[in-house]
């Protein structure tokens, strides 16, 4: 799956996107832990971010995600548009 980083999360990881391998079925929080293992600096924003899985918001909790190859998952820090 492709992980997209924005704003503060992109500054922390130093990348805008990367491809990682994860189980097809995974809880949102477990996915976050996978990502945080790769980029420990993200622990700083753990309580402020939300996922967008295939462009739908998903909280970092118990929700079970059903992922397919090529799915886009974005790390969404607190927004400030407008």
């Amino acid at each position: 799956v492709e992980i997209l980083y924005f704003a503060k999360s992109a500054e922390i990881t130093g990348v805008r996107s990367e491809t990682i391998s994860v189980p097809q079925e995974i809880k949102a929080l477990q996915l976050w832990n996978e990502i945080e293992t790769r980029h420990p600096g993200l622990a700083d924003v753990r309580n402020q971010v939300i996922f967008a899985v295939r462009q739908e918001y998903v909280e970092l909790g118990d929700q079970l995600l059903l992922l397919h190859s090529g799915d886009e998952i974005a790390i969404i820090p607190p927004i400030s548009g407008g």
């Binding site: 939300i50 909280e59 974005a74 820090p77 548009g81 407008g82």
Partner: protein, 158 residues
């Protein structure tokens, strides 16, 4: 003349644009103008020159583009369910937006004013809560900080 007016059908438009270019209130207003409408309501968001005693020189915007556009489309759809509006335009600037320049323009037209006035308020309030766009404040002293809207539906200020 009344017969001609019956024949005139104008498809309602949702116009959403992200651009690095300077925004024009006149251009956006023109896009929603309609002979069927007696009202056009606008919101223009501009860069303010201060935050907590620090001098802001510029804002820098980025967006998760396809999702931001889709979320704004959903807002347009919500607006049409709630109010009888004609055209909706949402223009958001990306990249650097210096002080006093517009970062966002929302324009809505309707036959009578109540609908477009309320729809514009709903649009900016909901955009600030849900649309994946971020701004960074660039301060005079060469530091910067990513902002967060209090409307952001998932993050509390802790």
């Amino acid at each position: 003349l009344l017969k001609d007016m019956d024949k005139v059908e104008e498809t309602s438009k949702d116009i959403i644009k992200f651009t690095a270019e300077k925004l024009s209130v006149d251009d956006v207003s023109q896009l929603v103008t309609s002979p069927l409408c007696g009202a056009i309501s606008l919101f223009v968001g501009t860069t303010r020159n201060n935050f907590e005693g620090k001098k802001v020189i510029s804002l820098e915007y980025e967006a998760y583009l396809p999702m931001a556009e889709n979320e704004i489309r959903k807002i347009c759809s919500d607006i049409r369910q709630k109010w009888p509006v004609k055209h909706i335009a949402v223009f958001h600037r990306l990249g650097l937006v210096p002080v006093s320049e517009a970062s966002i323009i929302i324009a809505v037209s309707s036959a009578h004013r109540a609908a477009s006035l309320e729809a514009v308020t709903y649009a900016i309030d909901t955009l600030k809560a849900r649309v994946p766009i971020w701004k960074k404040e660039l301060y005079e002293e060469s530091s910067s900080s990513w902002k967060r809207n209090k409307e952001c539906f998932w993050a509390t200020n802790s």
